[in-house]
Amino acid sequence: MREVCIIGVGIHKFGRFPDKTFMDLGAKATLDALKDANIRWEQIQAAYCGSVYSGSGAGSNMLAEVGLTGIPIMGVEAACAAGGIALKLGYQAIAHGEYEIVLAVGFEKMPRGFIVSPRFQDWERQMGLGVNPIWMALAARRHMAEYGTTIDQLVKVSVKSHKNGELNPNAMYRKALSYDEIINSPMVCDPLRLFMLCAPNEGAAAAVLCSKDKAKQYTSKPVTIAACELRSALHVSDRNLGVHYAGKVRKPSVIARVAQAAYEAAGIGPQDLSLVELQDTDVASEIIYSEELGLCEEGEGGRLIDEGETEINGRIPINVSGGLICKGEPVGASALGQIHEIVLQLRGEAGGKQVNSAKTGLSHVYGGGGYSCVTILKR
């Protein structure tokens, strides 16, 4: 297996764009990534496209706005993990010698309002069980009961995220919020309030991947993919969306397992990370995933925010981009949006949110139903 680098990244900022189609968003991110990589579209040998709500033929339809070169175009749907899997497929293809240069791109225009998933049956909907924030709220309350995590800690995570979001020109919410504004925001699913939850929205992000031995032809700042691992549910309790609670609750979770696989593949441990972009669909998830990713001991996630360890200048900065809380969540684009942030950080190009001496970063996504993808990048 060869080493693989990211030689260019591009992004369409996240938000709501009524005048743009998913094709516009994806094409913008793709063209910016090509430009960043000093690569022409004609040099891309294959494209991996992550999107969930863009309908039939999404990858092909979007890339037609970039060009037609007859290359293999592969579409990936995996809920919030779609972009991570697009990256993994591109990474595998180069690592195994099939291609030299590929594109991984994620793009999305989330439907507005509550998302009605075909996964829920009528009885679940009628009983009021077919609703996304419920799973996050149930996990939050359990964590509070099991480990003493507090509302105060949840609020502080949101304060941190919003403070970071102000520094991210590609985030949707770019205004710091006060502790009081957050704790007084409307309750959605107790204990999670509006400003503790991310909003589904629109956006796109892309990365150009190249074999390491050729990367320096295109960029003076290649970023190496040290690991890109994907796992799915081993236990019923790994799958949220209601199925979580349909049997015995077991650990370690799919997140802990995939993170372990990624650390092993990269030959590093969590203590070696300069920053982490994880899937904070809600502030409790940030606390829970920080434990499952091994950034602290089980039950200690709340202490990280209390002691400032996850701030931009802290021991282990989490979501310096503002996280999903500020960026919003266009599911297909999420993982690649995280990759975009980490690449900028490792190049020293992250502006006001730059982490000092950033050398290694971890991206984590979890797709509703049980997919989790963890990628580790290094300079």
């Binding site: 009885w123 909907r125 009628q126």
Partner: protein
């Protein structure tokens, strides 16, 4: 059909929201939730399924789940969601049964402010709505006990 709609409560028929979850018990009997137990490894699931996710065996037997358990976690939902026509806010819990599994259920007949992880709860059936034939569609729920 006429007296099904206009009759007294005792004439109105109750139907389960989904017979796979529970059946309406005969008079004098109590309802139970139907779980599936793997004959090969003993793993338990609710709702029922035909293949075991623990060992991949395909021989399951139906078992009556315990009617009492503890709140493993809970939430109060503040918005109606597609398909739900009940009162808002409403409570949902994950209930830990003595068999060692945790199942999802609406919570009812409870003071939201008094809900706590670890509270004992018991199974009840409650009317959700009426179907197009005037039957009372019954849901399973758990309430503090």
């Amino acid at each position: 059909m006429e007296n099904m709609r206009n009759g007294s409560d005792s004439n109105r028929r109750q139907v389960s929201i989904n017979e796979k979850l529970f059946k309406l018990p005969p008079p004098g009997m109590e309802p139970y939730l139907a779980g599936a137990k793997c004959k090969s490894c003993g793993e338990l699931f609710f709702p029922k399924r035909t293949r075991c996710t623990n060992c991949s065996a395909e021989e399951m037997e139906e078992v009556a789940l315990s009617k009492k358990g503890k709140i493993y976690t809970y939430t109060i939902v503040h918005n109606a969601t597609p398909g739900y026509t009940g009162p808002v806010p409403y409570a949902v819990g994950a209930i830990e049964l003595p068999e060692g599994i945790v199942i999802l259920s609406p919570l009812t007949q409870c003071d939201f402010d008094k809900l706590e992880v670890g509270m004992f709860v018991e199974l009840v059936l409650e009317k959700l709505h009426e179907d197009e034939n005037g039957n009372d569609v019954m849901s399973y729920k758990f309430r503090p006990c």
